[in-house]
Structure formats: C-alpha cells, structure tokens
Symmetry: C2
Subunit: 499 residues, 2 copies
C-alpha cells in the first residue's frame, strides 16, 4: 500500500531522475562529442543543473514529507525506495549549495583540461586545477562526515559503497596482500616457460569498432537502447533507458580496446536490465559502485578471459582482422591471461590489478585526511609503483598519476570498489557454477544464457531493493568472501582446478 506522503516523494524523485537524464547526457557528450571551446559553457550549464538538483533535494518541506512517509504503511519495494530516498536526502542536506556549485565548476574544468594535459604530460597545469578540486573534496568529506558520524574518507566511500568503511577495506586488502604477491610470482614463473605469439598489427580502427559491435552483440547489449562511442577515458554513462558506452582505439593493439569494451558492456547490461516498474526511483538504481564493477568484471575477467569464451572470440578476430597464428584459441587464451606488472590500471591483468587499486586507495585516503597535498602525488606514485609492482614511473605522468580521470573529476572513494567488485564477481561466478556445473561447455557452445539469467535474476533486477550485504547473501548465500577470488585466480592461473 502506497499513500500520500510517499507518493509525493516518489513524484519529486521522478523529477530528479528526468533532470538527471539531461545532466547525464550532457556529461557523456562532454567526454565523447564536445569540441574544446564548448567547455566553459558546458561547465556552467552543468553547475547550474547541479545547483538545481541540490536545491530540489534539500527543499525544506521534504523533512516533513519524509517524516510522514515513515509513518505510512508501505509495501516492501516502497520501504526500500524510502530508505534510498532518505539516504539521498541526508547526504544532500549535508552539503551547502555553494560547495556543490563550486565542485561542479572545478571538476568540469579540471576534467576537461586533463583531456589535453594528460597527453601533453602537463602535470603542473593539471595540479593547478586539481588543488581546488581537492580542497573542495575535503570540505565535502568534512560535511558528509559531520552528518553521518563517519570519518571523512569513509563518508566519501559511503557515497559509492554504502555500508563499507575503510577499516573493512583495510582488512580485505590486507588479506589480499598476504597471498597475492606470492601468487603473482608463482604465475609469472609458470608463464615464463610458455610461448605466446603476439598479434601482428596494424588493426585499423574501423575493424576494431566492427569487432567491438559484434562482441557487444554476443554479450547481449541492446543497441536500440544504447551506443558505443569514443572518449579519452572509457566509461559507461547515459541512463538505463539509453546507455552510452565509450572506448578508445589504438592501431597497434586491439586487446585493450576489446577488453575495455567488454568491461563497459557489463556495466551497460546492468543498466539496461534494471527493473522497469519503478524506473526513475532510487530503488530502481544500480546498487553500488562495487556491485557495478562486479558486473563489468564478470564480463571482462570471469567470462571473457575464460577458455570457453576465448573460443567464441577467436573466429571474430579472424573475421575482422584476417587469420594469423596469434588468433589460435590456445594462444589467445595465454595472451589474455598473461600476467605482467604494467603502468596502466585499466589495462592491468587480474592479478596485478589490485596493486593499482591499493596504490590509489592509500594516496586518496591520505589526501582527504590532509596528511599529504596534491603536489605530493607524483613522488608517492613513483614510490608506490616501485614497491608494489617494481615499476619505475619517474617523470611519466600520462601513464602515471595522470592516467585516471577520477581524482580530477572529484571522485574520491571510488577506487577500492574496483577490487571489491572483482571479488564479488568471483563470488557470483562460483554461485553460477554451482547452479550450472557444465557452464564452460555451454559457454563454449555460445550459450551465455546461464550467466545472463543468473545476473538478471540475482543482480540486475534486484537493483537497490536490498543493502549490498543483503543482496550478496540472497544472491550467493554469503556476504563478501574474498576466498572465491583466491580460488578463481589459483584455478585459472595455476590450473589447480579444472578450468
């Protein structure tokens, strides 16, 4: 039973959803379509919308409507929706409008300038904008911390992964660190005795794009409800009704773009398959950043780097690039599961990826807590990359600390979600395998339905009905358990089980 105060809130959040649609599309356009001189006007337009959305979320009358709705007799979906609405309302009311507007302007400028500063290795230009972004993020963290009682960094983390604190992240990442470096060494030792034939380029952009579209089709992406375009930093944007994915192409390498596209397709299918009944309401939104990443990584890591899926990709490579020895499925699998410390997070293999996250997590936590300043980043980056991955990044900004858009865009607290997502993905696939013991055979025959059906029923259609912990228990019988990730990696990379 829904009733009057709740319905008033639902109408209000539908309005927010519609304005959010315009905001989201303008954000996609800025990254994928907008010419350089449009930047200032776009930043102003987005800031104006940020300010409107904030004022709508903080209308004084809402406190009373929320209190009344809390007294109403509501069905379960409405109760969940009210919980999410209250979360939205509480965090918005913690932030002064002037801060919201200043953040929008500063991050728009910083992010747009980064697009040209990164290839130009222009750290000093970037840090000039970024100091202000950081100052405002600290202020935001302080405001959110006061409203929630959390520590400042935890208050930012809570935006993306509600219910998770940095002590939990420290525990999980700490545990990873006890076995992962040893596993990386063992795998690298094993792989050093394998031969991998490198693909021979060039791989023309048009062929890569056609390949991407084929693979997205295989993965069930609905092109009548979304697009694939290009941007400096690949992302999944748009709205559930119209999901905009981006990738980037390099003539000399198709693997990065292909795997990036598969990653974004995982995000995209989650959005495209959110429940339609309550679309526009917070309860119908994707659950959290880690759960979102668990979808992209289910596609990119669990599925796309398995022997059975590689057998599906191989003929598509021949179709678009012509035959060559590297496209033999066994070789292709070795190529896609090769473990090697590298500079770039988004191109990292499954085993070294967590090190990239741990580096960023450590730096951003200290940035927000005021222990270090923006200008300290390059030195800490060099130090972290050397100790975690044995890589020298000194003087390399574009493929070092300027490689990600996140910090410039004001996103602090997001990075841990990538590795939490990788662990959730392993947990989901363990559950899928329990229900479908012949999964690999079915995938090898091109039957991806067991994966899609499980994800649709257990994740996509659940949206934000449950907390992340409840969602995990309902889907897989337990809360986050990193043991699945370890078993998956040992099985795949050391062959200690049958796949």
């Amino acid at each position: 039973m829904t009733s009057s105060a709740y319905q008033e809130l639902a109408r209000h959040w539908t309005r927010l959803h519609r304005f959010g649609h315009l905001y989201s599309m303008a954000g996609w356009d800025r990254a994928a379509m907008m010419p350089a001189k449009g930047s200032e006007a776009r930043a102003q337009a987005l800031a104006e919308m940020d300010s409107l959305l904030h004022s709508l979320r903080t209308e004084p009358r809402l406190a009373d409507v929320l209190a009344r709705a809390g007294q109403e007799s509501l069905d379960e979906a409405a109760r969940s929706n009210l919980r999410e609405i209250r979360r939205d309302w509480t965090s918005s009311n913690a932030l002064p409008p002037a801060l919201v507007e200043a953040q929008s302007l500063a991050t728009s400028r910083c992010e747009h300038a980064w697009q040209t500063q990164r290839p130009a290795e222009n750290w000093s230009g970037f840090v000039g904008n970024f100091r202000e972004v950081l100052r405002l993020a600290r202020e935001e963290a302080k405001c959110l911390a006061e409203a929630s009682g959390l520590a400042p960094y935890d208050a930012l983390l809570d935006k993306f992964e509600p219910g998770t604190t940095s002590s939990e992240v420290d525990r999980v990442f700490g545990e990873l660190q006890t076995w992962l470096p040893g596993l990386v060494r063992a795998v690298r030792d094993k792989q050093s005795r394998e031969t991998v034939i490198e693909p021979q380029g060039p791989f023309p952009k048009t062929a890569q794009r056609a390949l991407s579209l084929d693979v997205m089709t295989l993965l069930g992406f609905d092109f009548e409800a979304g697009r694939l375009d290009e941007s400096a930093h690949p992302f999944s944007g748009g709205v559930p009704e119209d999901t905009r994915l981006t990738t980037r192409y390099r003539d000399d390498d198709f693997v990065r773009s292909l795997m990036g596209t598969i990653h974004e397709t995982g995000h995209g299918r989650y959005e495209q398959n959110l429940p339609r009944e309550l679309l526009g309401q917070p309860v119908a939104r994707a659950r959290s950043a880690a759960i979102h990443e668990s979808q992209s990584l289910s596609f990119e890591m669990q599925l796309a780097r398995s022997a059975s899926f590689v057998g599906l990709i191989a003929p598509l490579l021949v179709k678009h690039f012509g035959a060559q020895p590297a496209f033999e499925p066994g070789n292709l699998l070795r190529l896609l599961t090769r473990v090697a410390p590298g500079l770039i997070r988004v191109e990292a293999d499954e085993l070294t990826y967590p090190a990239h996250v741990i580096l960023r997590y450590g730096i951003e936590k200290r940035l927000i807590e005021g222990e270090i300043e923006a200008d300290d980043i390059p030195a800490l980056w060099d130090e972290g990359m050397a100790s975690l991955l044995g890589i020298d990044t000194r003087g390399n900004f574009s493929n070092g600390c300027m490689q990600d858009v996140h910090w410039g865009a004001g996103l602090f607290g997001y990075f841990p979600c990538y590795s939490l997502g990788a662990m959730y993905a392993a947990q989901w696939f363990a559950a899928i395998r329990r229900g479908t013991p012949d999964l690999d055979d079915r995938v090898a025959r091109g039957d991806l339905a067991p994966v899609f059906d499980w994800l649709r029923a257990n994740i996509w259609q659940q949206a934000s009905r449950w907390t992340t912990a409840e969602l995990a228990v309902r889907a897989s019988g337990e809360t986050l358990n990193p043991a699945h990730f370890r078993r998956h990696l040992e099985s795949r990379y050391l062959g200690q089980a049958s796949r």
Copy 2:
C-alpha cells in the same frame, strides 16, 4: 548604466540560458545520436525541462522586477536586452504550464516517430500523433493571440519573425507570384538548350563527409566550437559556444548533402559569431528566423551557386571523388543553377523554392485558423503541388507532406521565414557588392573576407540589438525590399547583368 532590477533580470536569463544549453544539446542528441528506445525517457526529460523553463520565465516576482527595470537608467545594449526579456516574458506568461508540458511531450513523440514513419510512408501513423500536436498548437496560438492582440496565426509567426504579420507575408508572396512563374518559364526555356553532364556516382559517404569538412573549413566554420553529424532532417542546433550541424548523405548524389551542409554552415557561423560580451542574454541571440535563414541562404544560394565560388569547389570534388567531366567548373555551375520543379523543399532550386513555401504557408495558416484539419493535408498538398509546380504527389507521403519535420515538431509560422530569408540574403549581397565592386574576382581567388566581414559587422555581431526592420536599415539602407531578390534571380539565371 546598469542597475539593480535590470541586473536581477540578467542573472535570471543567464540561468535560463544555461538550462537552455542542456535542453538544446539533448535535442541535438535526440536527432543525431539517440537510439530508438531512448525516445520516451528523452521526451519526459525534455518536457520536465520545458516545464521548468516555463515556470522560471513566469515567476510572479518578475512582473515587479520588470516594472522597476523599466524605470532604471540603462545603456542602449541593456535597453535592447530589456526589450527582448520583456518579449520573452510576455509570450511565456500567455501560456499555461500544462499546455507547455503537453506540447513538449506531444511534439517529442510525434517528431521521433516521424523519423521511422516517414521512410515507411506511414501517414496514418503520423497523423495519429499529429492531430494532438495541431490541437495544442491551436491552443497556443489562441493564448498568444489573446496576450498580443494579434490574429492566431500571426501570433505564431511573431515567435519566429517578430513584427511581421501574415498580411505583410501575403503582400510579399503575392508580389512574387506576379513575376516568378514567368521567370521560371523563361529560365527553363533557356536551360532546355543547355547541356549539363551529370556527375557519375557512387559517392561514398566517407568521401562526402571529408568534402563537407573541407568546404566548411573554406567557409570559416570553427570546428573547435562545433561539429558536423548526421540526422534524418538536417539542422543547425547546439549553442553559440558549441554549434552542432547535421546533414544526411546519399551514395548516388553528393550535391544535396553538400548544399545542405553549406546551408547549415551559414546558420552555424551566425551562431558562432554572435557577440560574446552579453552571451546568455536575449540581446545576444540571433535576431529572428528570417535573418537566420538569410545567413544560410547567403552561403548556400548567394555565395555557393555563384560562378566564382563554384571555381573553388571544383578542385575539392576532384580531390575527394576523382576527376570526371561533370566537375568542369562551367558544367558544375550549370548543374548547381539548374531550375526544375521537384518534390523536396530542401533540395529545391532558388526559383522554385518559394512555391514550396507558399504551399506550406497556405496550409499551416488554415490549419491554425481551424479552416482545415490534419486529415485534409494530403489532398491539399497534392492540389497545391499540382497547381504551383505541376507535380503529381498523390500517394507519396515521404517526399510529399511528410518530408518536413516542422509541423510534427509543433513549428507553425516558420515556413514563410525561408523565403523572407532568401530575399534578405539578396539584399545583403547587393549591399556587399556596393562596398566591394570586385567581389566576384576576390571570391574566385579564394578571398571570402569581404562576405564574412560584412556579415560579421552588419548581422552576426548585431545579434538582437535592433528590431528586424532597424537591422535591415542599418545594414543595407532599407527595410525588406524584394526587388533585390528579383534582380539577383534575373541576373544569375537570365544573364541580364554581369554575373
């Protein structure tokens, strides 16, 4: 001297400009980028924004602020701005919010469905949506008429061409009709003795696009502040800071797309060269629809179909399509100035174009005045095309009465502006020639500065400082004078003068 109430209005209209930016980009995206299933959500989002913009323009406090601003001592630019703000405010206050929202929804749906209904020749599907669009347009006309004291159709015309009424349009079009049919006959008779070599296709889309970009560059389009994409119906959209043009390509014909692109480039340069000082204020907007069309037609008709400009295009055709006899400049000029009644307005030559406008003007005026209904359109279309151009359109919807997006998008009162624009363009070029007697020689040498400089100083940078009539007098010494159009056509097509 600006002062407090005026400054309050200016801030308010800056806010409207920023929200309008998001609206405009979402509109461009809908036509150029959006997949089919995004339609409903986009329509809702745009309707929500329409409703917000309307409520901002009709905030009750504004009546008092406007009254106070009217008492303030303002400089000339501010006075002009206040005049335009008041115009905006008056017309907005004439419309009930429910009507504005209903119009946005109905036109979004109708326009989007039209994109697939048109190629499918699905008139009955289209008219099902269009009846509601028409009903709402009549209601809008009635509201605007009550507020302005104009007749209903004139009230719609006034939105696009302030200060011009249908009796003025009747007079000008009536005068055209006294000499144009005879001129068309004389020109067709003369041209029947000329030989024109047809270009031999196919003309691949990628080559056409590259040609378009070259010609846009020649015409001074700033690609750092705009783009060229594709849509079913070419248009110029976006914002002055980031102008989005669209075109469409056909493999068997490059002329239509090329001339369409040149047309939109005229619109685009006007937007890109509006004055920057007061950007975001109504006084810095393009003057009117007819003045806008005078820019696109200055480019497409006055400039691009002149012998001197054709000499610049010819080598670009050879560059992109390879050499062929049709690309000889003399032949190309004959091809581009060929007069032949045809089905499609946007592809019509200079001499038969007005007949397309006169047909639409007559129908839309009667539609708004309630003399005819939506279902009467096909029969009236067939009748008009037969009598005005001697063409049989029976049963042909896609290239008949469904060819234009205007009516489905709720645009009534716009069509006359195309032919008013053609006459203004002839008037501007007469003025340019007075100041630069060797214009043709300079254009032939690739020096387009005399054209751009005159348009920039007299039209682009003037924006909405003056009424249309004042603008015309300041630019060319007189208000709209169709004699320039007649002289231009006689000179170009019968060679009665030196070009």
